[in-house]
Amino acid sequence: NAGVTQTPKFRILKIGQSMTLQCAQDMNHNYMYWYRQDPGMGLKLIYYSVGAGITDKGEVPNGYNVSRSTTEDFPLRLELAAPSQTSVYFCASTLESLVFFGPGTRLTVL
């Protein structure tokens, strides 16, 4: 199993640009999550999904959108990038109480 994979690893965006952060897992987990980690801080939940076709907001959803058309994929969309979205983004999936994190995407908005 590849586990949780994320692409790209790094990205620089200009203000107002849009992009999609990709996340996939091959463990057939129903629960998936997007977190962001700002410098010197813990992770904060952006969106989560409890299964294909079901998504819900987390603690910091503003400026983001998600979709979950399949069990495997959970992309995160930034429509109008802002400097405040400069962060490291982690995707995760869960089996019972065990959370598997992806390697992260480092995004800079200039």
Partner: protein
Amino acid sequence: AQSVTQLDSHVSVSEGTPVLLRCNYSSSYSPSLFWYVQHPNKGLQLLLKYTSAATLVKGINGFEAEFKKSETSFHLTKPSAHMSDAAEYFCVVSDGSNTGKLIFGQGTTLQVKP
């Protein structure tokens, strides 16, 4: 609502000396608690987890944590620090909704001096 507070933002120890990273939690139910480690520019690795079994939890790399309900604490310890232990450590609590959502503490940076 569930929350965790890591009492030290930065801890510095000498190699070979004990490590203590402090975490207090707030929860309206019996929580699931975790410690994660993050090495520089790396992802998160699970050190250990508590899910209402034994109160003393042993993790990887010689770390362990003790769940103390009376003190609402879940401190992380290691008898002897190694240089490779230098990293960021996060105390984490599940949000109790059965959706697997996690609530992270602010993190503690562990520095290990030779």
